[in-house]
Symmetry: C2
Subunit: 348 residues, 2 copies
């Protein structure tokens, strides 16, 4: 029914071995023979059986990319960049690899299950993006899984994720702490003294690091933080809207709101507008990530640009072994403060 290697071999009047070699191109085959084989492949419309080939060769051409939320451009941009380097069809790379992105939805269990699924497929490489969950058992489980993947020859790269100690995983980490600090220092520099902070989910490393940066800035400038000024939420717009309302309720005199990311910041802007406040005249707003839409907010969002595409591309190249991993297997990727219209001096 389906065409097999043997069929091609028969038609080309060669042995299956020869066909395999032509297809894999890693063994000398006479030009004439190759031609004949290729012709047969074409005529029969032969498609290699991936599983069979993976089984026999003990390797597959699958590369997994794990993301927390595929509907979020933050991950979409990274995934896209990674994928373009992985090869996939039309990519820069030579061999045709199937770069697949897996959506964990931020759930630790799904993350683990996907890792197992990838392990099961004997993936050639795996790239994990985004912050990790700070749950000790889960962290250990992931680390164990990563070690197993590596043992099986799968290359593991973390992109925008803290290093995983005791594993050979290469880590490209975002400097969330530094970015958060710089951002808040910018606001303090403008004269703000009462700053609300809308943090992400408590258990995520990204959340913690950004918040730490924020607090470091406050501390460095002798501003004592009021516990009411911090609210935790999710990394989405809705959450930003609600959190801002809550913040305003707790302390209506805030002059700035720092958000966990740009989506949250947009929600914050909406909430501020809806409550009759002007940005930045009454309240300044700042985001994080600098996603494409941030510049379209009115006023445009002050934020920290993360080189998502660059980092993703680099992670992809490392995963493919086309770029040297950074010394020590860890590199920190810094963000860049983008000062735009949403931040200004507080009213005198």
């Amino acid at each position: 029914m389906t065409v097999t290697l043997a069929d091609v071999a028969a038609r080309a009047q060669v042995s299956p071995a020869t066909v395999s070699r032509v297809l894999n191109g890693n063994y000398p085959v006479a030009a004439a023979t190759r031609e004949r084989v290729l012709k047969a492949v074409d005529e029969l419309d032969y498609v290699l059986n991936g599983p069979a080939s993976a089984l026999a060769a003990a390797t597959s051409d699958l590369v997994g990319i794990l993301v927390n939320d595929i509907a979020d451009p933050f991950f979409g941009i990274m995934a896209s960049a990674i994928q373009s380097e992985i090869g996939g069809p039309g990519g820069r790379a030579g061999g045709e690899r199937l770069a697949v992105v897996c959506n964990t939805g931020g759930s630790p269990e799904r993350e683990l299950t996907y890792l197992t699924l990838l392990q099961r497929q004997r993936a050639a490489a795996v790239v994990l993006t985004g912050g990790a969950v700070e749950d000790a058992p889960h962290k250990a489980a992931v680390a164990a899984k990563l070690r197993k993947l590596e043992a099986a020859g799968t290359r593991v790269v973390l992109c925008g994720r803290p290093p995983a100690p005791d594993t050979g995983a290469i880590a490209l980490t975002f400097d969330n702490r530094g970015g958060g600090r710089e951002l808040t220092e910018h606001l303090i520099g403008l004269g703000h003294r009462r700053l609300g902070y809308i943090a992400g989910p408590e258990e995520r490393t990204t959340t913690r690091h950004r918040l730490e940066g924020h607090r470091a800035a406050l501390a460095a400038h002798g501003i004592e933080e009021d516990p009411r000024w911090t609210v935790h939420g999710r990394y989405d717009r809705r959450s930003g809207y609600e959190a801002t309302l809550e913040l305003l309720r707790r302390d209506p005199t805030l002059t700035a709101v720092v958000a966990a990311n740009d989506s949250v910041a947009l929600g914050a802007c909406a909430a501020l507008r809806d409550s009759g406040r002007r940005i930045p005249d009454d309240v300044s707003v700042a985001g994080f990530d600098d996603l494409p839409f941030s510049i379209d907010a009115v006023p445009a969002l002050t934020t920290v640009r993360l080189p998502l595409a660059e980092a993703g591309a680099r992670a992809g190249r490392i995963a493919m072994g086309r770029e040297e991993p950074p010394p020590g297997g860890i590199a920190t990727v810094r963000g860049e403060l983008m000062v735009r219209g949403s931040s200004g001096a507080p009213r005198a």
Copy 2:
């Protein structure tokens, strides 16, 4: 080195066949035996070899999702919904399937190559999202590929994509024409007579259908379209910005700009603002899709809401055989006009 089924069998003191059956759970195995096997699996930390299993069973648990641009929330939202229904870990479905999204970048070749890759992996199902390219040879090539996939037992579903004649592919098509028409009629109803249109890439079905709807509305109201009023571009913000400037240059008296999608509309808004025009006082703007950020534009974007998540979920269920395909294999999904602040009556 790696643990195999046989190792597990040995440890559990049963035959490999029994282990396989326990793992697949489709054959009666005594409870005690099953326990023993499961225990061995656990102790040895056994992970099934996907390729081997796929080879032997002649099916795999891979499901492919093709998207044009993974960094675009339009696709991200659909992919996310599809994936949640496909199962994947934690999904609604029972069996654990590896739902993978492949980024074609809008390139016909990559689309074809991914399809081949998926065929090579003997994917269980494939979902193609987004508009198709209107190139006859390519269309034929895709159709042929789809037929082959189907012949190999892969279920094929199109989501937000026109039907593929002569294939058994189930199609969930967006009513782009109807939505476009409704949108423009809304603007005409407000009193607009000179409307610019920023279309997407010329070769895409989505582009054509939306534009046709727009023109149908104009025609229905006896408005003769000026060729200068239509500009083609890409489906991104940048393109919207540039196209708007071009439109304004060609005819500074336009009172409304209809964009191919929301991102383009955002770019249009920016261009209008930068050229000193107010929205909607001087010029009304409308988008398409109603992506999450549209409501955050200032003023909020008038647009056509496409039920991306619902359609994706349905496509996913159909792909998994958990929902009856629509009669005739084709269903049209309608959009809903969302009138918001970016559209208003033109100045008298």
